[in-house]
Symmetry: C2
Subunit: 138 residues, 2 copies
DNA sequence: CTATATCCTATAGTTTTTATAGGATTTATG
DNA sequence: CATAAATCCTATAAAAACTATAGGATATAG
């Protein structure tokens, strides 16, 4: 399961996308709207900003805003940033690979093969679906 | 990522399947072969037994053995048993469903839609692939 | 100058995961 | 029947990860 952190990030990004025309949005506004602890959300938005996904403005009239169009933000990007690996096993992770200590030859390991397929099927969706795809459909 | 518990379970099941002709297998043998803490493994095998996946025999000549053919044991079964939900969000989980508190209408939620697709793609593999599919290929 | 809002880093609280301990029970066998 | 071998069972400890909070630093609008 995705962590609360990542779930909150998605909800916050959705709010920012749906209010992109209103200029910078306050942390407190998002927190209230989406029922998230304001201080926890603050940390999350900061991480998104440091990753270049969000921009911010300080002081009166400040807040957070998207740095790029929703369709340019793949869901996989958010998950990897806040949750880490998407793969089910370290030995099939593309971004967080670790060699399997138990199995002698990954090329012949059946578990590795199946989990690689799971990873591919998951990534095909999460890398192609973007913030735009999770906005409320009207 | 899958927990160590689930990873150990897979390795133990593989060992049991590959030595099914040798009668009951000792916990200690599996632990040594796969480099798993013997006491931790004991708990895992017990859970698998209580779930009807393994059988056991006590006393001298005892040990654990598979209760059914490897091709009858889907990987999803093991994961759900030891790791819980396979879905990325509670609101798209088939076996551990929980209503989303933030979104007003799941039928219209884009996040729900995408994560449902991820779940389906993952389950298509994990419910159809079995212990037989992860045995070493020779 | 002041109020506002993010920035930054530390830490506290909670839950989950991983691992260990030790006695109870069952069974094979001499 | 006594003994050794093995799983059964439950509790608890140790470590790690996750969730949340705190409070001062910094930047900016007006």
């Amino acid at each position: 399961m995705l962590s609360k952190k990542t779930q909150y990030a998605f909800h916050a990004l959705i709010h920012l996308a749906e209010n992109a025309d209103k200029g910078p949005i306050l942390i407190s506004e998002i927190a209230q709207e989406k029922n998230i602890s304001i201080k926890f959300l603050e940390n999350i938005l900061l991480e998104l900003k440091n990753a270049g996904i969000l921009g911010s403005k300080k002081g009166k009239g400040g807040g957070y805003y998207l740095m790029r169009a929703p369709k340019e933000i793949p869901l996989a990007r958010i998950i990897r940033l806040l949750d880490g690996p998407i793969a089910l096993l370290p030995c099939v992770s593309l971004n967080y690979y670790e060699r399997c200590e138990t199995c002698k030859n990954e090329a012949v390991c059946g578990l590795n093969e199946v989990m690689s397929k799971v990873r591919d099927a998951t990534l095909k969706l999460l890398e192609n679906k973007t913030l735009k795809d999770i906005l409320t459909r009207n």
